[in-house]
């Protein structure tokens, strides 16, 4: 395999930049954001260079590696700090650095009033570095470093305004939920080592034929758990909504476009495991299916624009996860949806940020209304994103989502039916809630009360949004055209290895998909036309209430984990004090009281001392008599 000396720079540049920004402190206030952005842009440049270099090579020579140093080497456990850039990772590199750079640019303006803007850019750079390490690591352990690194960056960014206790709590919640997933990744690595004696992708891939299916299933399930944590999939989804506490660019970059899709990357990267572990694959399908509906349902009831988008993200990643469960062909479509989603969701988030910028950080859509005419460009870009996400041809989302629906249906049988229905239903709901978001925000009556009129955001914010919306329009077709992405990823995921029979002609599927979208849109228009109250209606159906409460995910976690956990802690504190330490203290006090009791024998009377001697003598005689008898 070829080597490249550039890969390290991808990670090192933003990492150093981040370190410099953090260490320099206030001194860097004036230039920190510039440096952060330039660094991010240079990583994008490197990414582009590498991409074209890769494209120019023959297919089997495209992947390049770079060994940096021997990281851990103990006995047979050898892990190099080593990077791998192949067809799959370059997609991510471009997405991360591209979207990342745009968001850097956007943030310059968005965060311009924040005193800590420099710190914000430091975190962003840290995130870029970690995320690149995640997708470039050539072994699970290297990936793990990036994996937790992005978790840390996410934690820092969600809690960026951690003076507000709720935000700090949200950050912590995200980290802990991610850690649950990390347990999965840790265990997956451990099982991998026990199974393969190696934790690098290539090494494991070579050994996969000799591994038992039990082990592979275990690895697969653990990887899925990891993916669930990072990608906010059921049952570890609850943190994502709260994560919207972070500044909006963060929500766009980390909690929509890149980090949360790491789970999809992980499963795709581990395709050789999942392909050999059907049970794990089935679980992937179930998780994906459940989440896509779960997120969609929550999305229908959210009034907070960011939380509605977050629910949508959750749901869209559900699609991707589901796609990865569909076997070799699914991986490519999952990545395709991931890339298109990266564009349109980022664009919409930034759009939402733009709206909030214009609305003095108001996030409640019930307080919006009719913003379209005040913020035309934002409206336009958001609209493009909207069309992309609901899957209107020829926007990006159409191609990617359509392919997933099609593949799901093509599974055939009950499985195909269930998966197909789920994806179609999801598409319908998506259309509904996104339409709802658009109507509540940009159309209808103006509900912002006495506040100043909303105003359009500065160019520095609008240009990134614009570029992203271009992506949301065009990316789908570009990736789809001639199955470009499918062929591109072929060496990594072998999408063409298995030939799928087509149960339904693609065009029928597309028509079905568009039809359900139309249904969803129409219902939403019917429901939300006309005047809307500026407060959420109280008298709503049980379903709405459940959806508003995120389908009781927090209540469940609280009842199932938090409260039992707290009581365990409380009881252990008592046990530790009363029983364990108590036993120790008991030994002390028993000795002391024994001492005090025995002291009484020492009564000061000579006669009783003599008696004690006599008793002792008799005892000796008795003992000897017993021994010799």
């Amino acid at each position: 395999m070829q080597t490249s000396e550039n890969l390290l720079w991808l990670i090192a540049l933003p990492l150093f930049s981040s370190a410099i920004l953090l260490l320099a402190g206030k001194r860097a206030n004036s230039w920190g954001h510039i440096m952060g952005t330039i660094v991010s842009a240079s990583t994008f440049t490197i990414g582009i260079i590498e991409f074209f270099a890769m494209q120019s090579r023959s297919e089997e020579n495209r992947a390049v590696t770079q060994k940096i140093f021997t990281w851990i080497s103990v006995g047979s456990f050898n892990v190099d700090a080593s990077l791998l850039l192949d067809q799959l990772s370059i997609c991510f590199v471009l997405l991360i650095t591209g979207v990342g750079t745009l968001i850097h640019v956007y943030s310059i303006a968005y965060m311009s009033h924040d005193l800590d803007r420099r710190r914000f850019f430091a975190y962003l750079n840290l995130f870029i570095a970690s995320m690149l390490l995640l997708v470039l690591g050539d072994s699970y352990l290297n990936l793990y470093v990036g994996w937790e690194g992005v978790g840390l960056a996410s934690y820092l960014l969600i809690g960026f305004w951690n003076e507000k206790p709720a935000y700090a709590t949200a950050a912590k919640k995200a980290f802990v939920a991610n850690r649950v997933g990390d347990v999965g990744l840790s265990l997956a690595i451990m099982i991998s080592f026990a199974t393969f004696g190696d934790v690098s992708f290539s090494g494991m891939k070579d050994g996969v034929d000799q591994a038992s299916s039990t082990q592979l299933t275990a690895i697969g399930l653990m990887l899925l758990l990891a993916a669930c944590g990072k990608s906010a999939q059921f049952p570890l989804q609850s943190w994502l909504g709260d994560a919207m506490a972070g500044p909006t660019p963060v929500s766009a970059l980390i909690h929509a476009a890149t980090m949360v899709t790491a789970g999809v990357y992980l499963i795709t990267r581990s395709n050789f495991v999942f392909d050999a572990a059907p049970i794990a694959q089935l679980m992937v399908l179930i998780v994906g299916g459940v989440t896509l509906l779960f997120g969609a349902i929550i999305g229908m009831a959210k009034d907070d624009i960011k939380k509605a988008l977050a629910a949508s993200t959750m749901s869209q990643i559900g699609y991707m996860i589901l796609a990865t469960g569909l076997g070799p062909i699914g991986y490519a479509f999952a990545i395709m949806h991931l890339l298109t989603h990266g564009f349109f969701k980022a664009s919409m988030f930034l759009g939402a940020g733009s709206v909030m910028h214009g609305m003095k950080d108001e996030v409640n859509m019930r307080k919006y209304g009719g913003i379209g005419k005040f913020m035309p460009i934002t409206f336009l870009t958001f609209g493009l994103g909207y069309l992309a996400i609901i899957g209107v041809p020829p926007f990006a989302g159409f191609y990617s989502k359509d392919k997933i629906i099609e593949t799901a249906l093509n599974e055939g049988g009950i499985k195909g039916l269930i998966l197909g229905s789920a994806t179609l239903l999801g598409a319908m709901i998506t259309a509904f809630y996104m339409t709802r978001v658009v109507i509540l925000t940009f159309f209808g009556n103006e509900r912002w009360g006495h506040k100043d009129e909303p105003h359009e955001s500065p160019a520095l914010m609008l240009i990134p949004i614009g570029l992203l919306s271009v992506g949301s329009v065009a990316s789908g077709y570009l990736l789809y055209k001639g199955d470009w992405l499918v062929h591109w990823l072929e060496p990594v995921v072998n999408p063409l290895k298995v030939h799928h029979k087509e149960l339904l002609p693609p065009i029928v599927v597309s028509i079905m998909a568009v039809a359900v979208v139309l249904v969803g849109v129409s219902v939403a228009i019917l429901k939300y036309r006309g005047e809307q109250p500026d407060k959420a209606p109280e008298r709503v159906s049980v379903f709405t209430r459940a959806a508003r409460k995120d389908l009781f995910q927090d209540n469940f976690n609280e009842a199932a984990f938090m409260r039992p956990g707290q009581s365990v802690v409380k009881n252990l504190l008592n046990i530790d004090h009363l029983i364990i330490d108590g036993m120790v203290r008991a030994v002390g006090s028993v000795s002391l009281s024994a001492g005090n009791k025995l002291r009484v024998v020492q009564n000061g009377y000579v006669r009783s001392y003599a008696l004690l001697m006599v008793v002792g003598a008799l005892a000796l005689i008795a003992t000897i008599w017993l021994i010799t008898a």
């Binding site: 002390g588 000795s591 002391l592 024994a594 001492g595 005090n596 025995l598 002291r599 024998v601 020492q602 000061g604 000579v606 009783s608 001392y609 003599a610 004690l612 001697m613 008793v615 002792g616 003598a617 005892a619 000796l620 005689i621 003992t623 000897i624 021994i627 010799t628």
Partner: protein, 502 residues
Amino acid sequence: MLTAPSLGYLLLSPMIIVFAAAVIGVLVEAFMGKTHRAAVQLTISIGALLLALVQLWRIRDLSSTTAAVNSVTIDKAGIFLQATVVVLALIAVLLIADQENFTAQASAVPGSNEEAVALLQKNQQTEIFPLFLFAVGGMMLFPVATDLITLFVALEVFSLPLYLLAGLSRRRRLLSQEAALKYFLLGAYASAFFLFGAAFLYGYAGTISLVGISSAAGSANEVFLLIGIIFVSIGLLFKISAVPFHSWTPDVYQGAPTPITAFMAACTKVAAFGALLRIFYIGFAEAQTIWQPIITVIAILTMVLGSVVAIAQRDVKRMLAYSSIAHAGFLLSGVVALSKDGLAASLFYLMAYGLTTLAAFGIIGLVRDSTGEVTDLNRWVGLGKKSPLVGSVFAFLLLSFAGIPLTSGFIGKFAIFSAAYQSGNIAIVVSGVLASAIAAFFYIRVIIMIFFTDPVNDSVSVIIPSVKSKISISVATVASLIFGVAPSWLLTSATNFATFIK
């Protein structure tokens, strides 16, 4: 035709010197004026002890079973034990030389005019020196005596002066006299047991010599042997304060004048253990299956009870008394071991323990208020603040008692438990370490009181010791430290000297 019994004067010379000095001391007491009497007495005592020590050095390689017909066996171990007694006595005499601990006139009724006048006129009697020398002589004789009557006589020779010395305190004379009475009555009681047992051993073996008893094994009258062993053991176990014959110890240690307690605690233990070792190693060696289990049980009981009861003590002298009981238990493991290693370990332990004990009681004598010594532990709080040096030294001594490494107590404990383990007595080793853990508690409690508790504002203070006490305490402490850090010399000597001959 009668031939005069031949005596090995050279071999006996250390004892003869001490006894002679004691007799001279009596004469001095009787005929010398009060002005220089104390100094002369002290000189005689020290001189005699030094001379005895020199003699001991000169005869260190000699041995004989017939030094005094067949009654005394001078052998390596005996010489070592005698030397130990003499060295400890030398240190003790410097403490005793601080006359103001002792009543001016023992015969005077406490609180009477007579007493006050004697004090006022500095009419201090100095009978403690001859008494002390007699005791030392007896203690030297006890571990080398090889027949029952000599043992008995030696026992009485060193006990009787001690009974008297215990009653000579200047302050708290009622307590002191009570201690004397208790010590006397119980000691005599124990002697009676010893003698009765001796009679039965004689009945069993037809001879009073230890060797004879040993070689009479298999004689028909096993019962006599058993009774003999039990009763003789009682007498000896009383002297070493083994449970359940220990009750006198705390009371007497507390009541006796502190220098006497120091002397008693250190030297009696050496003498009594010396005799115990000889009797069990020589006389009863053949009957080991009988006594070993019993002594094992007694040893365990002694260490545990001594340690446990010590926890509850409020008086520092009583605490050290219980500590000495616990140490007796540890030392008994050396007896049980019944091996050269056991003997060597015991020899080392006795020296180390004796030095530490002397220094500890020496320090106790320094803590005073206007009415005399303060032994109530609650009033020792914050002593480390008042006198860091004395506090530190005492803490070090306590650590040595507790057997923390780099103290002689630890080496001793290690040696003696190794020997016990070697002989297969693992139970005693385990109980020993557990008892040490309990014991550590009360030693450390005292350290806490001294260092970590703020001093209450009372009149307790540390007096500046006289030169004699200073020498005594510092020699004992330094020796204790050296034998902890570099014990090689003493250990090697103990090993070299660890032989009893028959």
